[in-house]
Amino acid sequence: MLWKRQIPIMIVSGIGFATLLGWFIDQPTFKSFVDDDATQWFDILAAFAIFLGGLNLFKLQMQKILRKKKGWQYSLFAIGGLIFALLAGFVIKGNPEAAWGSHVTAKGTLFKWMFNYMVAPMQATMFALLAFYVASASYRAFRIRNFEATLLLSSGIIIMIGRVPLGSYISSWFILYLLVLIGGIVVNSFFKNKQYTAIFVGAGIILVSVAGNSMGWPLDEPGIFYLPYLQEWIYRYPNSAGSRSIMIGIGLGIFGTSIRYILGIERSYIGE
C-alpha cells in the first residue's frame, strides 16, 4: 500500500509544492530545477514511456493478425510501418556523413526521407481534411434557430468574408440594402401584413438610395457596414470580451484543479 498509494501522493504534493514555490525563490540550484530540470525530467520520462506505447500497439496489431480478426490484413501495414520506422531510426542511417543522433534531422538520411515523403504528407493531408469538414459542419450547424445561433452565424460569416480580399469589394451600401431586405423579412414575420412589409422595404430602399447619392456611394462608408471594418471591430471587441471571459474561467479552473492535485484532495487519476 505504501508503495502504491502513499508515496505517489507524496510525490505529487512534494513536486507540486516545489515547482510552485520555485517561482518565488531566487536560489540558483532550486531555480534551475524549476526552470529547467523539472520539465526536462518529464520529457525524459515520456520518451521512455513511448516505448511502452509502441509495445502495446505491436501487441494489439499482432493479436489481430494471429487471430485473423476482421481486417487483419491492414494490421500488416501497421506492423510493417512500425518496423520500417524503427529500422530507419536505429539501424539504417542511409547517409554515412550524418552521425547517429543527428541523423533524425540531417539531410539525406533514410529517417528524413521517411519524414519528407510519408509522415509529412500524411500529416498535412489529415489536416487538410479539415477544410472539407469545416465546410460541412458550418453548412449543417449555422442555422438561424434562435438568437444565440444567429449571433454565432453572423459573426462567423462577417469574419469569413470580411477578412479575404474579395470581401473588401463589397460596398457598405450593398450591405445596407441587404439589411433593409432582412429587416423586411423580420417585419413580415412579426406583423404578418404585406402592406407594412412593402412600406418598410420601400422606405428603406429610398432612404438608403438618397443617403448614398448624397454621399457619393463611397465603398467603405458608413464604416459599420463595411465588412472589413466590421469584422475588425467584431474580433477586436465583442470577440475579445467573450474569449477573455472564457480565458479567465479556464485560468481559474486550471488553478483550482492544480491546487486540488497538490493538496491531494483529488486523486482519482491514479485510481483512488
Binding site: 517561482w23 518565488f24 520539465t39 479539415l130 474569449s243 472564457i246 479556464i250 486540488r260 482519482s268
Partner: protein, 287 residues
C-alpha cells in the same frame, strides 16, 4: 480540521512569513509578492470551502446539461448494444486538462461497469494509457465487476496527432460506437473526430479547455462543457463533498475577480482624474 484549526494554521503561517519578511526575506523574489499573496489567499479560500463541505454543509450547484447527458449516453449505448468511445485528448499528463479528462473517465467507466457496456479508450500518450488503465481498473473494482475489466480497453495508438486522429476515425467508422465522449486537451483533430462521430450518428459529449476548439465541439456535438465547466465536471460526477466545496471556492474567487475588475475600473477613473494617487495597473503587473 475545523474552522479553529484552519484559523490557527493560517495564523501560524502568516506569523512565520512575517518573521521571514522581517529578516529581509532571503531568496524571496519580492517583485512577485502580489502573485504570492494571490496564490495564498485563493488556496486558502479553496481549502476553507473544501473543509466546510466535508463537515456536511449543503452546497448548491446549478445543473450542467452536458453532465446529465453522460449517463444517458452510456445508457443508450447499452440499449443499442454498442460500445462507448472515450477520447482523453491528445496531450500528455503534464497538461492539467488531460488529468481532468482521466478523472472524468474514471466516472464514465463506473457507469459502463454498472451497465455492462463495452468501453473503448484509444490514447495518444503512453503515460496517459497507464493512468487511464489505473483509473478504469479501480472503477470496475469499485463497481464489483473486475471480471469485465481488461487492460486493452485502454490502448495506445500513436503519439502523432493526425495519425491518432486517423486511427480513431477508423475505430469510429468500423465499430460504430453509440456514444463518443471527448474530454481533455484537443487541438485541430477535434473537428475531424466530431464530424466523423456525427456522420455515424453517435451521441457526442465534449469537454475541453482548449479555447480554439470549443466552437467546433459546440457546433458538432450534442453537448459541450465549455472551459471551466469541464473542470467542475469531476465534482459534479463524483458528488464528493470536498470536490463540490472546491467548486464553490472557485466561485468565491470569481466574485473576488469580478470585484477587482469593477473596482479597478473605478480606481482607474479616480486615478485618471488625479484624485487617487495609486495606479492599480502597477500593482497587478507581475514580472
Amino acid at each position: 480540521m475545523n474552522d479553529r484549526d484552519f484559523m490557527i494554521g493560517s495564523g501560524i503561517f502568516t506569523l512565520i512569513f512575517l518573521g521571514y519578511w522581517f529578516f529581509g526575506a532571503p531568496y524571496f523574489i519580492v517583485e512577485r509578492f502580489v502573485m504570492f499573496l494571490a496564490i495564498i489567499v485563493f488556496s486558502g479560500i479553496l481549502i476553507f470551502n473544501t473543509r466546510k463541505a466535508q463537515r456536511g454543509e449543503e452546497i448548491f450547484l446549478r445543473t450542467i446539461p452536458g453532465l446529465k447527458a453522460v449517463e444517458e449516453a452510456v445508457g443508450r449505448s447499452t440499449e443499442m448494444g454498442k460500445p462507448v468511445l472515450f477520447v482523453p485528448g491528445i496531450s500528455d499528463m503534464d497538461q492539467v486538462e488531460t488529468v481532468a479528462g482521466v478523472i472524468v473517465l474514471s466516472h464514465v467507466s463506473k457507469m459502463t461497469a454498472r451497465y455492462e457496456t463495452p468501453l473503448n479508450v484509444p490514447v495518444c500518450r503512453a503515460i496517459v494509457m497507464k493512468a487511464a488503465r489505473e483509473a478504469c481498473k479501480e472503477s470496475y473494482l469499485v463497481e464489483g465487476r473486475p471480471d469485465m475489466f481488461h487492460e486493452d480497453m485502454v490502448h495506445y495508438v500513436t503519439d502523432e496527432q493526425f495519425a491518432y486522429a486517423a486511427g480513431v476515425n477508423g475505430i469510429m467508422v468500423r465499430e460504430k460506437p453509440a456514444a463518443c465522449i471527448y474530454m481533455g486537451k484537443f487541438y485541430a483533430e477535434s473537428l475531424i473526430l466530431a464530424e466523423t462521430g456525427n456522420s455515424i450518428g453517435a451521441i457526442q459529449i465534449a469537454g475541453t479547455a482548449s479555447q480554439s476548439q470549443i466552437p467546433f465541439f459546440v457546433t458538432a456535438c450534442d453537448y459541450t462543457l465549455i472551459g471551466e465547466e469541464f473542470f467542475a465536471a469531476s465534482a459534479y460526477l463524483s458528488d464528493k463533498p470536498e470536490l463540490v466545496g472546491a467548486v464553490k471556492g472557485q466561485d468565491l474567487i470569481k466574485v473576488i475577480i469580478l470585484a477587482l475588475t469593477i473596482g479597478g475600473v473605478f480606481m482607474r477613473i479616480l486615478f485618471d482624474a488625479g484624485i487617487l494617487d495609486l495606479n492599480i495597473l502597477n500593482i497587478l503587473t507581475v514580472r
